[in-house]
C-alpha cells in the first residue's frame, strides 16, 4: 500500500494532483466528467475585482505538442464568483482543496479580491497570478522584483490563508523571484505559467490568435517547466507546485523529483478530461513498482550534480 497523502499548506492533500487554473473553469463544468472530489484539488479560473470580457477570437490554436491561448482572463468578477461559483465548490468538494486564482491590474485590485473572499468558506487559499502573458500588464508583478515584494507583502497583511504565487517563466533567473516570494510572506509557489508565443498564419500573413501573441502550454513545455521548478525549489524553502505539460504519472514524477510537492494538470484535460486521474494512477503505479512507501520520499530526490544555471 502506497501513501500519496501529504500535509501541505496546513492541510492534508489526498493526492498530489490538482487541476490547473484556466483549464477547469470553476469546477462545475467538469462535475459530470471527472470525480473531482477524488483528486488533490483544483485552481479556479482567475478572479478579478470586476468582470472581464476577455480577448477576441481566435483565442486558441494547436501548436506542435501543445497549444497557444490568449483568453484574456475572461471571468465573472468577484461578486458573481462569490454568489454563483463558490457555493457549488463549497457544497461539492469535501476532500479536494480549492485554490482561487487571483488577478489584478494593481496591488489594490489583488488586495480587494483577497479581502472580499477571505471571510467566505469553500476554499483553502489563493494562487496569485502575476504571470498572465495575454493581458496588458499581466506579468507586471511577476517581472519586477520590488513590485512583487510589495504585492506579496500587501496580500500577506490581508489574509492568514495560504498564498501561493504563480510565477512566469519569462525571467532570467526564477530563483530571485522565488526568494522574494518567500521573504515577503508567501506560503508556496506555482511554477510555471505559459510561455509567450506567436503563431503565424502564413497564407493570411497574420497572427492566428486574435490577441496577436498568446501563452504556449502542453507537452512541448514540459522540460522547461521541470527545469524552472527545480531551479525555484532549490532557491527557496517554500513548497512548489509543478505545472507545465503534465499528461502522465512519469511527467508528474519528473516535477516531483525536481522538487515539486504537488503538481497541476492543465492542457491535457482538454485532450482527455480523465487525464488527472490517469496521472494520479501513474504515480501510484510508480510507487508500487519502485517499492517507494510515500510520495514525500520522492520530493526533490533528483540526484543531480553541478550548479543551477539561469
Amino acid at each position: 500500500m502506497v501513501e500519496l497523502r501529504q500535509s501541505v499548506f496546513g492541510v492534508e492533500f489526498q493526492s498530489p494532483v490538482l487541476l490547473a487554473s484556466g483549464t477547469c473553469g470553476y469546477g462545475r463544468e467538469y462535475a459530470e466528467l471527472i470525480p473531482l472530489d477524488e483528486i488533490g484539488g483544483l485552481v479556479t479560473k482567475a478572479v478579478s475585482v470586476e468582470p472581464r470580457v476577455g480577448n477576441p477570437p481566435h483565442r486558441i490554436a494547436e501548436t506542435p505538442g501543445g497549444m497557444i491561448n490568449a483568453i484574456g482572463l475572461e471571468n465573472v468578477g468577484l461578486r458573481r464568483f462569490i454568489g454563483e461559483k463558490l457555493p457549488w465548490l463549497r457544497e461539492n468538494l469535501r476532500r479536494a482543496h480549492v485554490l482561487v486564482n487571483v488577478v489584478g491590474r494593481s496591488a489594490e485590485e489583488y488586495a480587494a479580491v483577497v479581502a472580499g473572499l477571505d471571510g467566505e468558506e469553500g476554499f483553502l487559499g489563493y494562487e496569485i497570478n502575476v504571470s498572465c502573458p495575454n493581458v496588458e500588464g499581466g506579468t507586471m508583478f511577476g517581472t519586477d522584483e520590488s513590485a512583487l515584494a510589495e504585492l506579496v507583502g500587501r496580500l500577506r497583511r490581508e489574509t492568514e490563508r495560504p498564498i501561493i504565487v504563480k510565477l512566469t517563466p519569462n525571467v532570467p533567473d526564477i530563483g530571485i523571484y522565488a526568494r522574494i516570494c518567500e521573504e515577503s510572506g508567501a506560503d508556496g509557489l506555482s511554477t510555471i505559467n505559459t510561455f509567450p508565443g506567436l503563431l503565424v498564419d502564413v497564407d493570411r500573413r497574420r497572427p492566428v490568435i486574435g490577441n496577436v501573441s498568446g501563452g504556449v502550454s502542453g507537452p512541448a513545455i514540459l522540460p522547461m517547466g521541470v527545469y524552472l521548478t527545480w531551479h525555484a525549489a532549490l532557491s527557496c524553502s517554500l513548497p512548489v507546485i509543478g505545472i507545465g505539460g503534465i499528461r502522465s504519472g512519469e511527467d508528474a514524477l519528473q516535477y516531483i523529483l525536481a522538487g515539486a510537492t504537488l503538481v497541476q494538470v492543465g492542457t491535457a484535460l482538454f485532450v482527455d478530461p480523465s487525464a488527472a486521474k490517469a496521472v494520479h494512477e501513474g504515480i501510484v503505479a510508480y510507487l508500487d513498482r519502485t517499492g517507494t512507501g510515500t510520495i514525500g520520499e520522492l520530493v526533490g530526490a533528483l540526484e543531480a550534480r553541478g550548479p543551477v544555471l539561469a
Partner: protein, 255 residues
C-alpha cells in the same frame, strides 16, 4: 466503424458510440480526439456535428480535410479507436408544426443529415438546400437521400451540378418555387459569410433563423473559454456551451 470517401477531400465516418447515439439531439456535436499519448495533430480534440445516428448505436460524422488534424481523422480505418466526448452543446429547436428550411454550406451539411431524416419522420415538412463550390465537392446525393429520406436541392457556385449560384439564392426559391412560405423556421450551418448573409435577410424580412457556428475549440465543455463568438450585446458567447446553435438575433453580424 465505417469510412467512406464521399466527395473530394471529404469522408463519411460511422463510429460505434451507443451512448452518444442514444442521447444526441439535432445540432449537437462531439469532440473527437486520440488521447494524451497522441502528440501529432490533432493533439487537441476537434468538434464535429453529429451527422446521423442509428438505432444500433452508430454515429455519423462528416469530415473534410482542411489541415493535418482533419487529415488524420479522415485517415481513420476500421478497427481504429478514437476518444469521443458528447453529445455537447445547444441543439436546434423546431417550431411545432411549422415548415423547416435547412441551408447547408459545404460540410455544414452534417447536422442536417441528422435533423432532416428524423424531423421528416416526425412529420415536419423539411426542405434541405445544399451548396458547394463545385460538383466534385458535393456529398453523394444518393447517400443523402438514404440518410434523410429525400434528395437535397443542390446548388454549386460554378453551376457544375444542380442550380448555379450560392445556396443562399436558394432561399428565394429554385425556379418559380417559393421557399419562405408557411412561417418557416430557417436553420443554417456553413461558412461565416453565408450565415451573415442569411442573418441580414432574417433581420430585414422577419423570418426565424437559427445558425450553427464554428470557432477554434479546445475542450467542448466550457472550461477553456476558447471558442467565443461576438454576441449582439457585446458580450462573447461560448460556441460550445451557449451554442453551437444560436438564434441569429443573439449574435453580432458586422464583419
Amino acid at each position: 466503424m465505417k469510412v467512406q470517401h464521399v466527395a473530394e477531400a471529404t469522408w463519411w465516418l460511422e463510429l460505434e458510440s451507443p451512448d452518444i447515439a442514444r442521447r444526441a439531439e439535432w445540432g449537437q456535436f462531439v469532440m473527437i480526439g486520440f488521447g494524451v499519448d497522441h502528440l501529432d495533430p490533432p493533439f487537441l480534440p476537434r468538434p464535429f456535428s453529429v451527422g446521423w445516428r442509428s438505432e444500433e448505436g452508430r454515429v455519423g460524422l462528416l469530415v473534410r480535410v482542411f489541415g493535418a488534424g482533419s487529415r488524420r481523422l479522415a485517415s481513420l480505418r476500421v478497427g481504429d479507436r478514437a476518444l469521443l466526448l458528447g453529445p455537447l452543446g445547444r441543439p436546434f429547436h423546431l417550431a411545432p408544426g411549422k415548415p423547416v428550411i435547412c441551408v447547408a454550406g459545404g460540410v455544414g451539411l452534417a447536422p442536417f443529415l441528422f435533423l432532416a431524416g428524423e424531423a421528416r419522420r416526425d412529420g415536419y415538412d423539411v426542405r434541405l438546400l445544399y451548396g458547394e463550390g463545385s460538383a466534385d465537392r458535393v456529398f453523394d446525393p444518393a447517400l443523402i437521400e438514404r440518410l434523410t429520406g429525400e434528395a437535397p436541392v443542390v446548388w454549386t457556385e460554378d453551376g457544375s451540378l444542380g442550380h448555379p449560384g450560392r445556396v443562399t439564392d436558394g432561399v428565394d426559391g429554385a425556379g418559380d418555387q417559393a421557399v419562405l412560405v408557411g412561417d418557416p423556421t430557417v436553420l443554417a450551418c456553413g461558412p461565416a459569410a453565408m450565415l451573415r448573409a442569411l442573418a441580414g435577410r432574417s433581420a430585414r424580412e422577419g423570418f426565424r433563423l437559427q445558425v450553427s457556428v464554428e470557432e477554434h475549440m479546445g475542450c467542448g465543455v466550457g472550461t477553456c473559454q476558447g471558442c467565443v463568438v461576438p454576441g449582439a450585446d457585446s458580450r462573447w458567447r461560448k460556441a460550445c456551451t451557449e451554442g453551437p446553435v444560436f438564434d441569429a438575433s443573439e449574435l453580432a453580424w458586422s464583419s
